[in-house]
Symmetry: C2
Subunit: 200 residues, 2 copies
């Protein structure tokens, strides 16, 4: 097991989280670090912090999707604005918590975010999530049952509460120890930090 840990708080509802998710494992590998994927409810964090969706400022909304498209080109990953936005990601995140028990959370998370942010799938729907799981060789029906278990609900809530407690106010958010990094646009800084290049 790699010694350095990067916690990655993610919610599939956020385009910048999708962008960062496509890069984080390669970044961690370059630094000899391990990623702990932590699904959480961004909406609850907005509520708790008093922060707002970036797109709530009209001038910013006009800018943001073009910005996402440029990042997608930089990363060479597909991106297409979904018809359904914002989306209810609770069930997808619960399925991701259930996939964690199978050791498949990162693969499932990436499949869900790609389905939504590249293919426009309605990831609020159980049958869509089931099919995505099955595409990864996971028993989708069993995953959906697990997703409704109290243990999974508690895990998602605990992740969200932990994020709020640690002053998370947006997504994606990364932690290395207690050093927070907020945003896809902090990957450069995160990599320098994990690589030991930002000593005080």
């Amino acid at each position: 097991m790699r010694e350095k840990q990067i916690e990655f708080f993610w919610d599939a509802a956020s385009p910048y989280t999708y962008l960062a998710a496509t890069q984080i494992e390669a970044l961690a590998a370059r630094c000899g670090a391990q990623v702990q994927w932590r699904p959480f409810l961004l909406g609850k964090v907005f509520e708790a912090s008093g922060n707002r969706m970036p797109a709530s400022v009209p001038a910013k909304a006009k800018y943001l999707f073009g910005d996402c498209k440029l990042w997608a080109r930089l990363y060479d990953v597909p991106l297409s604005f979904p018809k359904i936005f914002p989306i209810n990601s609770v069930l997808a995140l619960r399925c991701a918590c259930a996939a964690e028990a199978l050791g498949r959370q990162p693969a499932f998370a990436l499949a869900v975010m790609r389905a939504y942010w590249a293919d426009g799938a309605d990831i609020s729907q159980p049958q869509v999530l089931q099919a995505l799981a099955e595409g990864l060789g996971i028993d989708g029906a069993a995953l959906l049952v697990q997703a409704q278990s109290q243990a999974v609900k508690d895990l998602l809530r605990a992740n969200t509460d932990d994020a709020v407690k640690r002053n998370v106010f947006g997504a994606p958010t990364f932690f290395v120890g207690e050093q927070m990094f907020w945003g896809n646009d902090r990957l450069q800084l995160l990599e320098a930090f994990v690589g030991g290049k930002l000593a005080a």
Copy 2:
């Protein structure tokens, strides 16, 4: 004269603008581009766009200065949070407009931002601005007189109005043609774009 142009909307009151200002000329040189420095009033842009200071969300405020410190380490530039914050930057920006007529805007802008963000100087004060100008071999008393001219006031207002018209909502903001880049954290993307690496 270099063919590619990067417009740089800057206000000395913004720490991320200071950080970006320390990097932008070297970035432009690497890309064979020229920087057009455009002082503007960020407060007016917040008013017009309905955006808020990033630090207006308490959890974000806790994060932001530590984030700025990490960027400063990455760039190897000094940064120290000023006692006077926020600061009234209008006179400093008017002096920068006046320095433009002498072909010295970038040097003056960097001196002002460094004085505030590294040395804690009160850049709202005429005598501080005069001394900064004189440190660059500029006639500081004459610069202050020019800073009160109608032409300079009009230039600063015109830059601000242009920013609002083009949906600017924060600082620093860069334009390459009509493609906007918002934030110090977009320099990587800006460089790829100007370097022709983000073709659609």
